[in-house]
Amino acid sequence: MSSDIRFTDFKSDKQPTWCPGCGDFGTMNGMMKALAETGNDPDNTFVVAGIGCSGKIGTYMHSYALHGVHGRALPVGTGVKMARPDIEVMVAGGDGDGYSIGAGHFVHAVRRNVDMTYVVMDNRIYGLTKGQASPTSREDFETSTSPEGPKQPPVNPHALALASGATFIAQSFSSDALRHQEIIQKAVEHDGFGFVNVYSPCVTFNDVDTYDYFRDSLVDLKEEDHDPSDKDAAKDVIFDDETEHQGIIYQDEESVPYHERHGVDEDMSVIPDGAPEGATDLVREFY
């Protein structure tokens, strides 16, 4: 692995088909920079992507990657990391992929605290299917399938994560490039499941949660004297319905990742040419 890795090494030769101005460009750039900054290179990195506009990210990045089934990106990442603790695993998907079809996996991936990074590109809309309500859409957000709004509260992903025992919860904004990269980098460096919800605006189908909206309303926790290790403080941020925050909301400094708890530290891709040594013991057990 060479040591002079630049973030552009993580770019594939495919041109993104995202709409011009899509938040996902910024989200992806921050991911690539964070990976390069943390000393990774494409050959020791595995990116798992879900389905939707966000799911295309694996195609536009250059690394080992799997573009999977809708909503199941986290289990795939979990499997990669368990088999290959030596590989940097980053999972990316949208709000539909993570909080709707994949919500069940999100809860359990958080609980497992596998040492990987989960980036949710949250645009509060279904973009690829041309504009339907997502689980993070506002209650009164009018779409083709919810003419009067979904009439149900949006999922609070940070709260869901906290309730599931998260050890790292963060929020970033794709347009605030440096800060976004910094937050992703912290998630990559975290010993355990680094969860970052990224506001990644859809310029085509969401005229409510826009760049302007986030730029005007986001409060950075770094400037708020927020202590990420304080769970109660994190709770206050998470349940503050009045303010949109960005920054590290919660980080458990004592986090013990899955592989340490379970002693899973071997590169499982390496096996002998025959049955493993001592396999005959298994037969003897049946006497």
Binding site: V80, M82, I87, M268, V283
Partner: protein, 585 residues
């Protein structure tokens, strides 16, 4: 026919039926006798009844029969449930002091042995050992040396202390003595012992052991009857060989975790039953089209839906062959014996990696929960061979790069098999996807590349047909006019049925098929026979349909799969060409 002895212990769920039966089965196995066990769990009338049955002989036994010689009945219902199998002279051991058994009626033609199981157990150290008292009583009835029970009791209780082991041994002897003293009766049984060494295991355990032997390092699953024992077996064992088991939140997750581990380069597996396969089918196409080697074990049970979860059926054959949208190459293996569960698991891992596709390994409930004795040599670990297929490393990857310098995990090759690079291999970074893709794994809708990739994936199946041995196992009379074909776990019952038939002067030839796809070409065998019978544990005859399919007259085919629909003028030309080709031929 084997001079067999059929024994059972039955009672309510929670009576310790399983462990009691297992102790007796192990004692017989340790005494050099062959054993074949089966379990009745759940109910024909109402919930609660459970029984563990043991068939034993000094000769090989590979099936259950409808006959019960000695029954330990802890409840009146145990007798009711088994009336069909009990016969004149059958012995029923029961505790007449147990409240529920006080008024029990032993059928006149049978021999009731009333043993105060609980009282004798209490005298030996605790009421909990009453089943062991019954085992001792059974030893006396069957003239089976009680010393053989000792090693089984030690195996079961040694981790709980020598005192408990000794108490149990004493409890067994109390049962034996009671029968010897109180019943001056000659029973017709004499369970001889031999010097043979046997191991005793069930199909799920054989699959789990096969997985470890094959180098499987990662297992993700979600508990489901009757596949759970695979996971239970691996838990705590696979770790000794550097592996890990994860209990996922559902089957959707389990198969995706297994897929992730396989992409990481691990030999990886999941096991489930029909309802789990339904969920896993979502990811099946992705596994196949991303050319990921994965072993998916389906331990079938009675469906559809929740069906009869604790009952036998081979009803998922079509699901495994055809499940999933689109056209997906896959292999389907169906081991025909418990020993084959081990070997076919090893083979499944090799096939999955050599041909880079998902392999269904299917057993069924009757095989999963049945224990059978084998010589330990049956599982000779030195015979296990590992073939990882076409894996490239830093030194060989250069031969598989595109002109622009990208690794080509879906390289178009003559045999359809492309190179595989594990993460961490320098210059091997690539995308795997459920989208149609080019040789580098990049999304494409190019009509030509689409066709090339579909053909390449299918070519792997043709290559496997040529390179591997897909033959069925044959037994019976090879010149017989009657051909009986079966698949999966029916082989044992059929092998013994052949002997029954031979006694009646009827010879049959049997083909027992462990490969469903690819499968052996049976057309010549079918055409040579006067009558052909396909035996399988389902209603529709799913394998019979395949056999019929394989001997049907062939039709010409026009297929289009480049993503564009038929056009009228093109179709007219195609038909003309096809007819012309037919005339030439």
């Amino acid at each position: 026919m084997p001079a067999d002895f059929n024994w059972a212990v039955g009672g309510e769920a929670g009576d310790g039926i399983d462990s009691t039966g297992k102790i007796f089965a192990q004692a017989l196995s340790r005494a050099g006798r062959h054993v074949f066990t089966s379990k009745d769990f759940a109910s024909r009338i109402r919930g609660g009844y459970t029984a563990y049955k043991v068939r034993t002989s000094v000769d090989k036994v590979q099936s259950v029969v409808d006959r019960l010689d000695v029954l330990i009945a802890l409840t009146p219902r145990t007798i009711e449930e088994n009336l069909d199998e009990l016969h004149e002279g059958s012995v029923i051991i029961y505790d007449g002091e147990r409240t529920t058994m006080q008024d029990v009626e032993i059928p006149e033609e049978m021999i009731g042995i009333d043993v105060p199981l609980k009282r004798l157990a209490e005298e030996a150290g605790g009421a909990i050992m009453r089943n062991v008292v019954a085992l001792g009583a059974a030893c006396e009835v069957a003239e089976f040396p009680i010393e053989n029970l000792d090693s089984a009791l030690e195996k079961r209780f040694s981790d709980k202390g020598q005192k408990l082991v000794d108490n149990n041994k004493e409890a067994a002897r109390a049962g034996r003595s009671y029968v010897a003293e109180e019943y001056d009766h000659e029973f017709d049984y004499n369970l001889e012992t031999t010097d043979e060494d046997y191991v005793l295991l069930n199909g799920d355990e054989a699959i789990g052991m096969g997985a470890i032997a094959a180098g499987c390092r990662f297992y993700a699953g979600y508990p489901i009857t009757p596949a759970t024992d695979v996971m239970t077996y691996l838990t705590g064992r696979i770790e000794r060989y550097g592996g890990h088991v994860v209990q996922a939140e559902d089957e959707l997750s389990a198969i995706n975790m297994a897929l992730g581990a396989a992409r990481g380069g691990a030999r990886s597996m999941t096991a489930t039953s029909g309802p789990g396969i339904d969920l896993m089918t979502e990811t099946f196409g992705l596994i196949a089209t991303s050319e990921t080697p994965l072993v998916i074990c389906n331990v079938m049970r009675s469906g559809p839906s929740t069906g009869m979860p604790t009952k036998q059926e081979q009803g998922d054959l079509n699901q495994m062959l055809y499940g999933g949208h689109g056209e997906v190459p896959r292999f389907v293996l169906a081991p025909t014996t418990i020993a084959e569960c081990f070997w076919k698991t090893v083979e499944a891992f090799n096939l999955a990696e050599k041909y880079q596709l998902p392999v269904y390994l299917t057993a069924d409930l009757s095989m999963a929960v049945t224990e059978q004795t084998f010589s330990p040599d049956t599982f000779d670990m030195d015979e296990v061979e590992i073939d990882r297929g076409n894996v490239v490393d830093e030194t060989t990857i250069d031969d598989h790069m595109s002109e622009s310098g990208g690794f080509q995990p879906h390289e178009i090759t003559d045999d359809g098999i492309s190179p595989r690079a594990f993460p961490g291999t320098a210059d091997g970074a690539h995308m795997s996807t459920g989208l149609e893709h080019d040789e580098q794994g990049r999304r494409t809708e190019d009509t030509e590349m689409r066709v090339e990739q579909v053909d390449k994936r299918n070519r792997k199946v043709e290559t496997a047909r040529e390179r591997e041995d897909w033959s069925p196992r044959e037994f019976g009379d090879e010149d017989a006019d009657t051909l009986v074909v079966t698949w999966g776990s029916n082989e044992g019952a059929l092998a013994e049925a052949v002997e029954f038939l031979a006694d009646d002067g009827l010879d049959v030839r049997v083909l027992s098929v462990p490969y469903i796809f690819p499968r052996p070409d049976l057309s010549e065998d079918v055409e040579a026979a006067e009558s052909v019978i396909v035996v399988e544990c389902n209603e529709q005859g799913q394998f019979a349909d395949l056999v019929e399919h394989d001997v049907l007259e062939r039709v010409d085919r026009i297929n289009k799969y480049n993503g564009v629909r038929f056009k009228a003028d093109e179709l007219a030309d195609d038909i003309k060409e096809t007819l012309a080709a037919g005339v030439e031929a």
